[in-house]
């Protein structure tokens, strides 16, 4: 069973949880279900998962006519997966634009500079209107 972890910024903010609260409730429910199913799957494969370069990978789903991606990497234990950044994707363009580069930077920061942190992934039970209005 795969255990998901969230990236935390050097300031201690859970950037995955913050992103989660900014997307639509439909996209959130799908993200939760997708992680739930993937946590039980021995082998992840396309179309719900795609390997990127340098050991990164993206969890993929579509909702509200948008392609959602959460970029991450295997972490420490073989069955740990670190979620580094959430984004959307349209016609080969990520939003935020350098999502893959940011994910890579965050991972390297954790690995080599001890910048940032990680915590057990746990989708917020409810997102406040203030958090949602940031989208």
């Amino acid at each position: 069973m795969t255990r998901f972890l969230d990236y935390k910024s050097p300031a201690g903010n859970n950037l995955i949880a913050e992103w989660y609260c900014r997307i639509s409730v439909e996209a959130r429910a799908m993200f939760d279900d997708l992680l739930d199913v993937l946590s039980k799957k021995a082998i992840w494969s396309y179309p719900d998962f795609k390997r990127l370069d340098d050991g990164l990978g993206e969890i993929r789903w579509k909702c509200d006519k948008k392609q959602y991606r959460v970029i991450g990497c295997s972490w420490k234990e073989p069955q740990g997966y670190l979620l580094l950044i959430g984004c959307t994707h349209k016609q080969d363009i990520y939003d935020p634009p350098d999502a893959i580069g940011t994910a890579d930077k965050r991972r390297r920061g954790l690995q080599f500079e001890r910048k940032g942190g990680i915590c057990e992934h746990q989708s917020p039970e409810d997102c406040t209107p203030e958090e949602q209005s940031l989208s």
């Binding site: 799908m30 279900d33 199913v37 179309p47 789903w61």
Partner: protein, 240 residues
């Protein structure tokens, strides 16, 4: 907090509840379709042919959120896989429990033909058990008692599963446990009726049900002989 408790907590939000229903369709169905297709060893093109659809549509239906499902589409897929389809309204707790149990790697729904084969295997297993009982001398009876006791120990975790729900039961449908159970039975009694059933080449998927029902019968006959007067009478006559 368990994953179930966390899901229930999120469902307190009405908008999330509504979205959860949608996501169970948009995410759950693609994994079910892919699992059923792969179990049958089909490529997407084969499923497309069986369902009378185009391959790109199958591809979309296997991608989370990429396809809109309607009942006619699901009916056609059910027909292609030769499985039943249940659409019903349920409490949220039931949907949560289903999502907790659902494991795409172990999701296995036999086609009608395989179900029929399973029933035939049950009949064969019962006949094998009857024949075993009917050997009818004291040594065989003692062996049966010993066999039954050990089988009972080996299968105890599974015997509480209602037969009608055997395919839906996570305990039985879990492939690892099926194998564990099977190897426990086979390992101890390679020449018993179930060992012979395995040797006969019956499909692996039909064995758990056959084993469960056959073993239940054996246990009943072995531990409550009065319930089977014919068998015990025969045994007594042979012993005398």
């Amino acid at each position: 907090m368990s994953t179930r408790a966390r899901k229930i907590a999120r469902l307190k939000n009405k908008a999330y509840r509504d979205a959860f229903i949608g996501s169970q369709i948009s995410v759950g169905l693609p994994f079910q379709i892919r699992a059923l297709r792969e179990q049958r060893g089909w490529k997407q093109s084969r499923l497309a042919m069986e369902a009378g659809m185009l391959q790109p549509r199958i591809s979309a239906m296997e991608s989370p959120g990429a396809a809109k499902f309607n009942l006619e589409t699901l009916r056609r897929l059910a027909s292609a896989f030769d499985v039943a389809l249940m659409v019903r309204f349920v409490p949220f707790s039931e949907l949560v429990d289903w999502s907790e149990r659902f494991d795409p790697d172990k999701f296995n729904i036999p086609s009608f033909k395989d179900e029929q084969a399973s029933e035939e295997s049950v009949r064969q297993a019962e006949a094998a058990v009857e024949a075993y009982v009917a050997i009818g001398h004291e040594a065989a009876r003692a062996a049966l008692g010993n066999w039954a006791q050990q089988l009972e120990a080996a299968t105890q975790p599974f015997l509480t599963t209602p037969t009608a729900n055997i395919w839906a039961s996570p305990e039985i449908s879990a492939t690892g446990k099926q194998r564990k159970w099977l190897s426990a039975v086979q390992g101890q009694y390679p020449t018993g009726p179930y060992g012979r059933l395995v040797e006969s080449g019956a499909p692996f998927s039909v064995l758990p049900l056959a084993l469960y029902q056959g073993v239940s019968n054996v246990l009943e006959k072995a531990t409550i002989p009065a319930k089977n007067q014919a068998a015990t009478g025969l045994l007594s006559a042979q012993a005398a």
